[in-house]
């Protein structure tokens, strides 16, 4: 382990209410001091962070790395490298791996793959039910002991509310966080676009907001009944934000995130039948987008995630409803967050908190801040650096992004994971 001196950066740490120019000192993989060096500090490596921002590494609550039979879409190597280049030092892995993350051996295998990839910390999310089929509970305690950080049924439904109730009670018994992506399957009815003017015009099977809000309302009721901690992932509409706000005010222990692209695109931005825009939940209206931004700004929505879903070309080459949903989104996480700051929708401090301290709080991790003694997970970025998304700059194996070819502002220059430089531009 070496001693690292990060010089003259703008240190932003919302958890500790820090925002000023200064230095950061790393010793033995941990944050040793900020501003003034620790006694007898001798730097092995000096990183000049002049005119750059230095903050905690990003913690992504929803990613998929594919691999395991899906390596044409992405591998641990390709996707964790993409994460490192995006400033992500910890990532939660959704349980809809193949096979699903429903036994300890699979979780251990994934942890092993992640360690070999030698990039960001991977936190598997355990399947809530066996094979994610929504009928029998998974071995949640064994999965937790194998390193799983939460439980979720990913995109698949638990149609029977009695089973969902029991799963949540059991999760609560082991103090496991339940991550819910609210979606009523019967109402979303295999849709692929927001139920509104655009889906009507193009004749696309559509998903009403109620598919999300009804599932969310059910889960809120069960959160109160069972005492289970619930985090709602990838919200897409105004009424969901209102419901979360009311639940928090009422005193329920719930939190929520939004995928970054939902704060930038609406149904009106969809190029007709361009499968790069096929994402679930679907892009909704301007009013929804605005309300989600406000929810992030006022704290109703706690955090931002990438909801990274890399795909191979074939998965997106078909008629729109037949293509696979999802966006390769790790590498646009930072520039799209900075764009919100430029639009004055949120402050830079709020944006960084939503990528660091807030998700750490949700996962109860001792990270996401530049606190002395914490593991030195650090992201250094140049907020002014412009770059184009193309095959020279892109790391993920999935090029399925609606922002392909766009010029982005703001780029990560260094990423450190436990004091080890895992990416430098």
């Amino acid at each position: 382990m070496s001693n690292i001196h990060i010089q003259n950066g703008r240190l932003i740490d919302p958890a500790n209410k820090i925002d000023s120019i200064g230095d950061l000192y790393i010793v033995d993989g941990n944050i040793a001091a900020i501003f003034d060096p620790p006694d007898g500090f001798q730097a092995d490596t000096v990183i000049d962070a002049t005119s750059k921002v230095v903050c905690a590494g990003f913690i992504d609550l929803s990613t998929r790395l594919r691999d395991m039979g899906h390596s044409r879409k992405g591998t641990f190597k390709s996707e964790t490298r993409a994460a490192a280049s995006a400033g992500v030092t910890s990532m939660c892995l959704q349980p809809d791996t193949r096979p699903a993350m429903d036994t300890a051996s699979i979780a251990e295998y994934i942890k092993d793959l992640a360690e070999k990839a030698n990039y960001p910390q991977i936190y598997p999310i355990a399947a809530l039910t066996q094979k994610l089929e929504g009928s029998e509970l998974s071995s949640m305690l064994s999965l937790k002991q194998a390193g799983c950080i939460a439980v979720s049924n990913a995109l698949l439904p638990v149609k029977n509310l009695l089973i969902l109730r029991r799963a949540m009670e059991y999760a609560a018994s082991h103090d496991l966080l339940f991550i819910c992506r609210p979606n009523d399957f019967s109402l979303s009815n295999k849709g692929c676009a927001h139920e509104g003017a655009v889906a009507t015009r193009y004749g696309l099977p559509s998903i009403p907001e109620a598919a999300e809000t009804i599932a969310l309302a059910e889960c809120l009721e069960l959160a109160e009944l069972t005492g289970c901690r619930v985090h709602f992932g990838q919200l897409s509409c105004k009424r969901s934000v209102i419901k979360i706000h009311q639940a928090k005010k009422y005193g329920l222990d719930v939190s929520a995130d939004v995928a970054i692209h939902q704060l930038h695109l609406t149904e009106n931005d969809i190029t007709p039948f361009d499968s790069a825009y096929h994402v679930l939940p679907p892009f909704r209206t301007e009013a929804d987008k605005k309300y989600l931004c406000q929810g992030l700004a006022n704290g109703t929505i706690n955090s931002l995630c990438s909801d990274h879903q890399p795909h191979d070309l074939d998965a997106k080459l078909a008629a729109f409803p037949e293509t696979e949903s999802g966006i390769s989104a790790l590498e646009t996480l930072l520039p799209l967050m900075l764009k919100l700051v430029a639009q004055r929708a949120i402050s830079l401090e709020q944006g960084i908190a939503a990528l660091t301290h807030q998700p750490a709080q949700i996962l109860r991790l001792p990270s996401g801040a530049l606190t002395v003694g914490f593991s030195a997970d650090v992201c250094i970025f140049d907020p002014e650096l412009e770059w184009q998304i193309n095959s020279d700059t892109w790391q993920s194996r999935g090029i399925n992004t609606p922002f392909w070819g766009h010029t982005m502002k703001g780029r990560v220059t260094h990423t450190l994971q436990a004091g080890k430089l895992i990416f430098s531009l």
Partner: protein
């Protein structure tokens, strides 16, 4: 916008995928060209050598009789060679992807694909992916568009009604699942119809349907007032089992077109239906076969209109000029 992919650099028709984005002059040009193929004395359609030496593939991923047959006849009247591919029962059932099917057919030196597919956007996808010298005609994609049907209906309307700007048109039935309805609405609005009215229960109307440029009624008796053109839509039987409607007899009672209901519309109103008809479900036989019905004329007109569209698309496709 993707829609412009159907026009070449000079704004001429290269593919025919949707009515949306095409202007009144172009639609009128299609109707005039179609009229030129019809012998004024006996209504017969002349055989012309416009597409001699060209190969047209009817690529039907969904079953169809009438549309495929009239496309085939239209191609033959243009002197093209026609290949009918019923993909529903061949390649894709062996696991071949849509794109591979297209690539294989391209390799056989075809000049035009006429595509029907169960998924919205399939014709756009093929037009985007196919070789530049190949034209794509949309013969119906999912719930999105069926533009040749809309054009043959405009042709039929024009045979009976002189001026689109004075017309009030009612489209009745399953708007939600209907690619025909969407294309008719665009065509009527582009040609300047005074009003396009959709009449259906809420279960058969898509969200925010008024944004397509229509007025909405849930009541056939009220909705038929002042109407010049009645377009009935086919109601698929499976809609009854998916809880969209309580049953055929109640549907017929509320939205079925009977002689009595027909009297509410203008006395010279014409009755249209894209077929196939469900007699006694959406339309009474007496109306379907009555003197105000132009349903069989629609079928006949399909040949001339599809000839016009195929000839125009092929003519303006740069690579084949």
């Amino acid at each position: 916008m993707t829609h412009n992919i159907q026009l070449n650099s000079e704004g001429k028709l290269k593919h025919f995928l949707t009515i949306e984005g095409l202007d009144k002059a172009l639609l009128t040009d299609i109707l005039d060209t179609a009229a030129s193929f019809v012998n004024p004395s006996d209504g017969q359609i002349k055989k012309v050598p416009l597409l001699r030496g060209k190969t047209i593939v009817n690529l039907f991923f969904e079953n169809s009789t009438r549309t495929r047959t009239t496309f085939e006849l239209a191609a033959k009247r243009l002197s093209a060679d026609v290949l009918n591919m019923n993909i529903a029962t061949s390649a894709t059932s062996k696991g071949e992807s849509l794109l591979d099917t297209i690539r294989n057919l391209e390799a056989m030196f075809v000049d035009m694909f006429v595509v029907r597919h169960a998924m919205s956007g399939a014709a756009h996808f093929i037009a985007q992916q196919t070789a530049p010298h190949i034209s794509v005609i949309n013969a119906g994609d999912g719930q999105h568009a069926h533009p040749t049907q809309a054009m043959l209906d405009m042709f039929t309307i024009r045979q009976h009604k002189a001026d689109f700007s004075k017309l009030r048109v009612a489209i009745i039935g399953d708007i939600l699942h209907s690619r025909v309805a969407r294309s008719e609405i665009h065509a009527l609005n582009t040609l300047g119809a005074a009003e396009v009215r959709v009449i259906a229960p809420k279960t058969l109307l898509p969200a925010k349907v008024e944004t397509l440029g229509v007025t909405v009624s849930h009541n056939l008796t009220e909705g038929l007032q002042d109407i010049d053109v009645i377009m009935m839509l086919r109601l698929q039987k499976e809609r009854m089992t998916s809880a969209l409607l309580p049953g055929e007899s109640e549907y017929f009672k509320c939205f079925g077109l009977t002689e009595e209901k027909l009297k509410i519309a203008k006395p010279d109103a014409i009755v249209m239906h894209p077929g196939p008809i469900n007699r006694g479900v959406e339309i009474d036989s007496k109306v379907a076969d009555g003197k105000q019905s132009v349903i069989l004329q629609q079928v006949s007109n399909g040949i001339a209109v599809r000839m016009a569209i195929m000839a125009m698309a092929m003519q303006h496709n740069g690579a084949s000029a």
